[in-house]
C-alpha cells in the first residue's frame, strides 16, 4: 500500500539542525549534572572532566527519590483507575439513556471545562480539609477523580454512541442484567478509548504541581520534591541538574515504550475535545 518515497536530504538537514537546537537545553543540563559545583562556576558550557555519579547519589538520597517516585506512581495510577471506573459507568449511561435528564447532566459535566482550576482552588482546599482528605494521597486521588472526570465522560459517551446498540439489545433479550452487560460487553468494546483516556490522564496528573502542593502539603511527589529540593539547594546547580535527569528519565522510558499510544491519544483527544 505505502509507497516508499525517497528521503529529502535538505529537509532532513534542516530538521536535524532544528532538533539539535531544540535539544540543547537538555544536553546542557545532562552535561552539568556530572560536574562539581566548582566546575560549573568556572564554566557551565564546558564538558565535565569525568563521568562522576556523586551528584546522582546525593539527589537519590536527600530527595528520597525511590519513595517519591513510588508516590507519584500511586497518585497517577490510582487516579487513572478510579477515573476510568467512574467515568466509563457514567459515560455509558449518558450515551444510552434517552431523556432530558441525561442531556442536562452531560451539559453539567461539560460546563466544568470552562472553569479554570484557580477559580475553585481555595474553596476546594476548604472542602478537602473539612472532609479530612488534606495531607493524604487517597484524598488527592478522590479530588482528581472529581476534577478530571468530565473530559473522559465526554469521550466515552461519544465512543459508545458510535457503537451498534444491537449487541446490547440481544444480550438484554437473553436476560443479561445491566451490570453484567456493562462488564462483559461494553467494557471490552470501549477499550480503545479507555487507553486514550489513561494516557491523557497520566500526562495531566504526573507533572501536576499546584493541586498536590495544596492538598498534600509535603514534598512527596516528583514535581513537589523538585520544588522543595530547589528551595533547599538554592544555586547548587550540579544537584538540581542531576535531579532533572533523575526525575525525567522515567518519563522518557515511558514515552519510548508507549510512543504510539501517546501520539494517537493526543491527536484523538484534541480532535474530539
Amino acid at each position: 500500500m505505502k509507497k516508499k518515497v525517497p528521503k529529502n536530504i535538505c529537509v532532513t538537514l534542516v530538521t536535524s539542525f532544528a532538533a539539535l537546537i531544540y535539544f540543547l537545553p537538555v544536553f546542557i543540563a545532562v552535561l552539568n549534572s556530572f560536574k562539581t559545583k566548582g566546575e560549573i562556576l568556572a564554566s557551565a558550557i564546558s564538558l565535565p572532566t569525568s563521568l562522576r555519579l556523586d551528584n546522582y547519589m546525593t539527589v537519590m538520597e536527600t530527595a528520597d527519590f525511590i519513595h517519591v517516585f513510588f508516590n507519584s506512581c500511586l497518585v497517577t495510577g490510582g487516579s487513572i483507575f478510579l477515573n476510568l471506573l467512574v467515568s466509563s459507568l457514567a459515560g455509558y449511561a449518558l450515551a444510552r439513556w434517552n431523556s432530558k435528564w441525561s442531556k442536562f447532566l452531560t451539559l453539567l459535566f461539560l460546563s466544568s471545562m470552562f472553569v479554570p482550576f484557580h477559580t475553585i482552588m481555595i474553596t476546594l482546599l476548604t472542602t478537602a480539609k473539612t472532609l479530612n482528605l488534606a495531607g493524604h494521597i487517597y484524598g488527592l486521588i478522590f479530588i482528581y477523580c472529581g476534577l478530571q472526570c468530565s473530559i473522559p465522560i465526554f469521550l466515552i459517551q461519544g465512543f459508545v454512541r458510535a457503537l451498534p446498540i444491537e449487541l446490547e439489545e440481544a444480550a438484554k433479550i437473553d436476560g443479561c442484567g445491566m451490570i453484567k452487560l456493562f462488564g462483559i460487553i461494553v467494557i471490552p468494546l470501549i477499550k480503545p478509548i479507555l487507553a486514550t483516556i489513561s494516557i491523557l490522564n497520566a500526562l495531566w496528573t504526573w507533572n501536576d504541581y499546584l493541586l498536590p502542593y495544596l492538598i498534600l502539603g509535603k514534598p512527596i511527589t516528583i514535581p513537589l520534591s523538585q520544588m522543595y529540593f530547589y528551595g533547599q539547594y538554592n544555586q547548587q546547580w550540579h544537584l538540581i541538574m542531576a535531579g532533572f535527569v533523575v526525575s525525567t528519565t522515567p518519563v522518557i522510558i515511558f514515552f519510548v515504550i508507549m510512543q504510539k499510544h501517546i501520539v494517537n491519544g493526543i491527536s484523538a483527544g484534541a480532535v474530539k475535545g
Binding site: 532538533a19 537545553p25 564554566s43 478522590f142 507533572n207 514535581p223 484534541a270
Partner: protein, 294 residues
C-alpha cells in the same frame, strides 16, 4: 411498560451517580462556594464571613496590581500563542515532508512536553543565568550586547514565554501532524504534477486546509496561557517588580500569602469570566467562518 422505563432510568442514574458524587463534591460545590465567598469578606480559613456585595470586585477592578497582572497575562499569552503555533506548525511541516528519521525527530520535539513545568523552569533559569554568563565570557561578548534575561522587566516575560514555548510546542506539533496526515496525498500529487513548488503546495494547499486545526490550537493555547502558573512561580515568583505576576499567581498570593480568600475568590471569578468570554467568542468566530465556507 412504564414500570420498565422507570426501572431503566433509575439504573442509568445509579450508573452516573458515582461520577456525579465526586463531581459535585470536588467541582460543583467548591465552584458555587467560590462564587459566594467572592461576595464576602472571607479571611483565611476563618468560618466567620459577612456578605459585602460586589466590594471585592470593585477593589479588584480598581487595583493596580490586579489590573497589571491581567495585562501581563495578556502579553504573555499573545507571545506564547503566536510563537508556539509558528514553531509547532514549522516542525509539523518539516516532519510531514520527506524527512528521514521522522519518529526520532518527533520524539525530540515532543519530549519537553512530558517534563514537569517546574523542572523545565529550573533548567531554563540555569540557562538564562550560569550558562548564559559562561557563554558571554567564553566569546567575550561586549557588555552593551548582553541581556539580563530574568532580571530585566521587559525581558523577563519573554524569557518565560520562550520556556513555555519550548515545553509546549511539541504537543501542538502532534495535533498539526495528525491533521496534515488527513490531507489526501492525491491532492498534493496533482498539484505537484501541475508544477506547483513545495512552498506553493504549503501555502496554497496545506495551510488553508489546516485552518480549523490552527483555530483549535489557538483556542487551546490561549486558555492555557491565561491559566499559566507553574512557570512564573518557579522561574521568577512574579518579579522583577511584578513584571511577571500572572493572574493566577496574583490569585494565589492574595489567597494564600495575604490570606484574603474572599478577595482572591473575586479575582478568580474575574479570571473565569475572561476565559469564558474569550472561549465563547473564539468558538462563535470559528463556527461562523466554517458556516460561510460550506
Amino acid at each position: 411498560m412504564k414500570y420498565i422505563k422507570w426501572k431503566n432510568s433509575i439504573l442509568y442514574f445509579l450508573f452516573i451517580l458515582p461520577a456525579l458524587f465526586f463531581f459535585f463534591l470536588f467541582f460543583l460545590y467548591p465552584f458555587f462556594r467560590s462564587l459566594w465567598i467572592s461576595l464576602t469578606d472571607a479571611y483565611g480559613f476563618n468560618p466567620e464571613i459577612h456578605f459585602i456585595g460586589l466590594a471585592n470586585y470593585w477593589e479588584a477592578l480598581s487595583n493596580k496590581g490586579f489590573l497589571n497582572s491581567i495585562w501581563v497575562t495578556v502579553k504573555y499569552t499573545a507571545f506564547v500563542t503566536i510563537f508556539a503555533n509558528v514553531c509547532a506548525l514549522f516542525f509539523a511541516l518539516l516532519l510531514d515532508g520527506r524527512c528521514a528519521f521522522k519518529k526520532f525527530f518527533r520524539a525530540v520535539f515532543f519530549l519537553p512536553n512530558l517534563m514537569s513545568l517546574i523542572i523545565v523552569s529550573f533548567v531554563w533559569v540555569f540557562i538564562y543565568g550560569s550558562v548564559y554568563r559562561s557563554f558571554v565570557s567564553a566569546f567575550s561578548i561586549p557588555e552593551a550586547w548582553q541581556i539580563s534575561w530574568l532580571g530585566n522587566e521587559k525581558m523577563a516575560l519573554i524569557s518565560m514565554g520562550i520556556t513555555a514555548i519550548w515545553q509546549c510546542a511539541g504537543y501542538y506539533m502532534l495535533i498539526y501532524i495528525a491533521s496534515l496526515q488527513n490531507i489526501s496525498p492525491e491532492l498534493i500529487e496533482a498539484a505537484a504534477i501541475d508544477g506547483a513548488s513545495k512552498f506553493q503546495i504549503i501555502r496554497k494547499i496545506k495551510l488553508p486546509l489546516l485552518v480549523p486545526t490552527i483555530d483549535i490550537n489557538t483556542i487551546l493555547l490561549i486558555t492555557a496561557g491565561f491559566k499559566t502558573f507553574d512557570i512564573p512561580l518557579a522561574m521568577t515568583s512574579g518579579g522583577p517588580a511584578g513584571a511577571t505576576t500572572t493572574i493566577t499567581l496574583q490569585i494565589y498570593n492574595t489567597g494564600f500569602r495575604s490570606n484574603r480568600t474572599g478577595y482572591a475568590a473575586a479575582q478568580s471569578v474575574v479570571l473565569f469570566l475572561i476565559i469564558s468570554v474569550i472561549t465563547a467568542v473564539l468558538y462563535l468566530f470559528q463556527n461562523r467562518k466554517g458556516g460561510s465556507d460550506s
